[in-house]
């Protein structure tokens, strides 16, 4: 090798080195920024106000507040999180909208008001699309909660499942099969009620009553509205079949206590050792774990029971975040929500497996908490059968009114109290039609 050649090689390698090193440093910085989700510089020095519910798992709230603060510190944003009971959120939203001021990010739980407020909410389609690209897309039912006219006006971050929780010891002692169908659940309740172990699903004006009786109805093949959400479809032969079954399961396996229940009553019923099974969120499982180790040891979980053969539909309580259009800090709000989605598995851990994610890739087994507890592993199979109010249609404003007025559980209550099924349907379907008609007129 000549000296010239040596010099040439040296020069090339020096240039190459500088170029490669430069690209490497730049690439690494971008990768680090993306990895850390560094927010753009213009959000620095701003304030982000978040209205959040008070989670059923208090540790989650403590984690969330810390998580939000740390994100704020990292990005130079002052973050303030306010917690209120989820039932107060519709009133707070109305007040903030009327005032044109308040929080930047607002949470909705159970009662999802996206369709009511969408004209006044920030379009979050870009954040939703980015998350879908990154995590294998959204589970099919997520869209129905937040999509209006092809745009996403909210971000679904988690939902709350309601499996069957049953006492394996009692089932085994009485040669009963696990409640994989509603019929098996009914047989178990009929057998165990005379032995001091009835069951119960709330038949009062609480969220559980709205959710769980719908799960049973939809699993019997019933639907609440058209897929478009335009018209109600309640009155059907499936409704009659469901109501006959509901009456039977109430008479044979429940007590009138269910007429007075709130959302925590079934937790207490299971934890007290009375219930043979309950259909509830895993808060019932956690309450039992914390208060009655003997019962907890024998409490097992099952999928949503089948109504018709092979038909399982589990109505879950959705949770959605939205950003007001009047927010002066929409960019920071979007950045924070994207960061929250990136960390939804941590949220799931902090909520002790309560928060179920909406993104497909998050269901890679084993999932945090529920994937490691043998009794809870079955929850990993729920996303295929999850539905929300208005099934199979979206959560429309008439459906929200129907939910808020408890029309569906009231119809079941009337039947349980002895009203003729046809009369109860006439009342229930009539209320559905009336509410839909009012919204159409408006």
């Amino acid at each position: 090798m000549t000296r010239d050649n040596e010099r040439h090689d040296e020069a090339v390698s020096r240039r190459g080195f500088v170029r490669t090193a430069g690209l490497g440093v730049a690439g690494a910085s971008i990768a680090t920024m993306l990895d850390a989700r560094q927010a753009p510089a213009q959000v620095r020095g701003t304030t982000l106000r978040i209205l959040q519910w008070s989670h059923f798992i208090p540790a989650y709230d403590a984690w969330y507040d810390k998580f939000a603060k740390e994100w704020g510190d990292k990005n130079g944003v002052k973050v303030r999180v306010d917690h209120i009971p989820h039932l107060d959120i519709p009133a707070r939203m109305a007040a903030e909208f009327a005032a044109g001021a308040g929080h930047d990010i607002i949470y909705n739980g159970s009662s999802i008001l996206t369709r009511l407020y969408y004209k006044n909410l920030t379009d979050l389609t870009d954040v939703a699309d980015a998350a879908a690209k990154k995590y294998g897309g959204w589970i099919p039912t997520a869209r129905s909660l937040v999509e209006v006219e092809g745009r996403w006006f909210g971000l679904p971050i988690f939902y709350i499942l309601a499996p069957m929780l049953y006492r394996k010891d009692l089932f085994e002692a009485n040669n009963l099969k696990a409640p994989d169908t509603w019929e098996l659940a009914r047989v178990a309740a009929r057998t165990l009620k005379p032995k001091g172990h009835p069951t119960g699903i709330a038949l009062s004006q609480c969220a559980d009553a709205n959710l769980f009786w719908r799960s049973m109805f939809f699993s019997f093949g019933g639907t609440e509205a058209e897929a478009s959400g335009d018209n109600p479809t309640l009155d059907s032969k499936e409704l009659r079949e469901f109501l006959r079954f509901a009456k039977a399961i109430f008479d044979e396996g429940m007590t009138p206590e269910v007429f007075s229940w709130d959302d925590a009553s079934d937790n207490r019923y299971l934890a007290s050792g009375i219930a043979c099974w309950v259909h509830d969120a895993i808060s019932a499982y956690r309450t039992t774990e914390d208060t009655n180790p003997g019962v907890f040891k024998n409490t097992f979980l099952a999928l949503e029971p089948q109504g018709q053969p092979g038909k399982r539909v589990s109505v879950a309580a959705p949770n959605v975040w939205m950003v007001w259009k009047f927010s002066k800090n929409q960019q920071a709000a979007k950045e924070f929500l994207a960061y929250l989605i990136d960390n939804d598995l941590e949220g799931m851990t902090q909520s002790r497996g309560y928060n179920m994610p909406y993104l497909n890739d998050r269901y890679k087994k084993p999932m945090p908490v529920i994937g490691t507890d043998p009794k809870l592993q079955i929850l990993q199979d729920f996303p295929k059968i999850v539905a929300f109010y208005g099934y199979p249609g979206p959560s429309t404003t008439p459906i929200q009114e129907i939910v808020n007025l408890f029309v569906f559980p009231d119809m079941v209550t009337k039947v349980a109290r002895g009203m003729n099924i046809e009369e109860a349907i006439k009342w229930g379907a009539g209320e559905y039609r009336r509410i839909y008609a009012k919204h159409k007129r408006a």
Partner: protein, 329 residues
């Protein structure tokens, strides 16, 4: 005859204006100049802040409710269209509305009866001299002063279908069977009991207020008059009916009016105890208005439902005020 003259056209108008402007303006000025007129004007001036206060804090929300009730306003739409009486029609068409109306009336009447009885009894008890009277007077107002959520949530526990302390106490003294027996009351689950349970909490919360109002009235009755009635041979009930009640009647009426308004507009007790269930057995108009207007977002319809409280209140208000006025003369 021209059209102008038929309708009192321009000529007639100007003639009337001329007639009014001369002597009438002069007479107004002269009236204002007199000492009486100045006193009247000063009186109105002193009343003006109170009038303004009522107008802003009572009148404005009321008229705003009226406006909302005849529009299709929603919580999310600032632009509302006039819909006439459509919202009232929608309310009247609904079964739930009629149940809520009936429950509101029952709630109001039963609560009023119990509050009157308990309030009067308590007021008489507090009139007596006994050791620790001041402390007891302070303690009895606790239900009224406690935050409603705290007290109602305590009651919710006491009414719990499984762990009700009331039931366990009744069972302990042998009045009812054990948990799970048919005689075990489910306070918030049986329709008749549920409404009764809600009324009981409302009465418990607010009867001390009635008692305090009555107590204030009783202490304003001069003891000499009561002594004179005693000397004349009046029994306790006769003294109460013929001496005390007529003397404190305006106070009684004002207290009753407050009670009526508080009871009829009480949303919290029912909302926190039952949410209106089971199957609307405890639904009252304020709860329904809140559910439709705020939770479901149909502000116009919610306002219309809430306004049905006005016809319930107005006749009572009118009768009470008329009665007070009559007794003043």
């Amino acid at each position: 005859m021209t059209a102008a003259s038929q309708h009192g056209g321009p000529d007639a108008t100007s003639a009337r204006a001329a007639t009014l402007s001369g002597p009438s303006v002069r007479s107004v000025r002269s009236r204002l100049r007199s000492a009486t007129a100045r006193r009247v004007a000063f009186g109105y001036l002193l009343l003006a802040p109170a009038g303004l206060y009522v107008l802003l804090l009572v009148g404005a929300p009321f008229f705003f409710s009226l406006y909302l009730a005849v529009t299709d306003a929603t919580v999310a739409d600032p632009v509302a269209n006039f819909v006439g009486l459509e919202n009232f029609r929608a309310a009247l068409e609904s079964d739930v509305f009629w149940i809520a109306l009936r429950n509101s009336i029952v709630f109001l009447l039963v609560a009023a009866i119990f509050k009157s009885l308990l309030g009067t009894t308590l007021a008489f008890l507090l009139l007596q001299e006994f050791p620790g009277k001041k402390l007891v007077r302070g303690l009895v107002v606790i239900p009224f002063t406690l935050p409603v959520t705290i007290s109602v949530l305590n009651w919710k526990w006491m009414y719990d279908s499984q762990f009700s302390v009331i039931n366990w106490a009744l069972n302990a003294v042998g009045l009812i069977g054990g948990y799970g027996s048919p005689s075990w009351p489910i306070w918030l689950g049986q329709p008749e009991l549920a409404l009764g349970a809600c009324i009981a909490v409302n009465v418990w919360r607010t009867f001390p207020f009635s008692a305090i109002v009555l107590l204030a009235g009783f202490t304003s009755v001069p003891p000499e008059i009561l002594d004179a009635a005693k000397v004349d041979g009046c029994s306790f009930l006769q003294r109460f009916r013929h001496v005390v009640v007529p003397m404190i009647f305006p106070i009684l009426m004002v207290g009753f009016l407050f009670d009526t308004v508080f009871t009829l507009s009480d949303l919290s007790v029912v909302y926190l105890l039952t949410g209106g269930g089971p199957a609307n057995a405890t639904k009252i108009l304020p709860v329904l208005a809140y559910q439709v207007g705020i939770q479901a977002g149909a502000l116009g319809r919610g306002a219309a439902i809430a306004l049905f409280l006005v016809p319930l209140l107005l006749p009572m208000l009118y009768l009470m005020l008329r009665n007070i006025k009559r007794r003043e003369y």
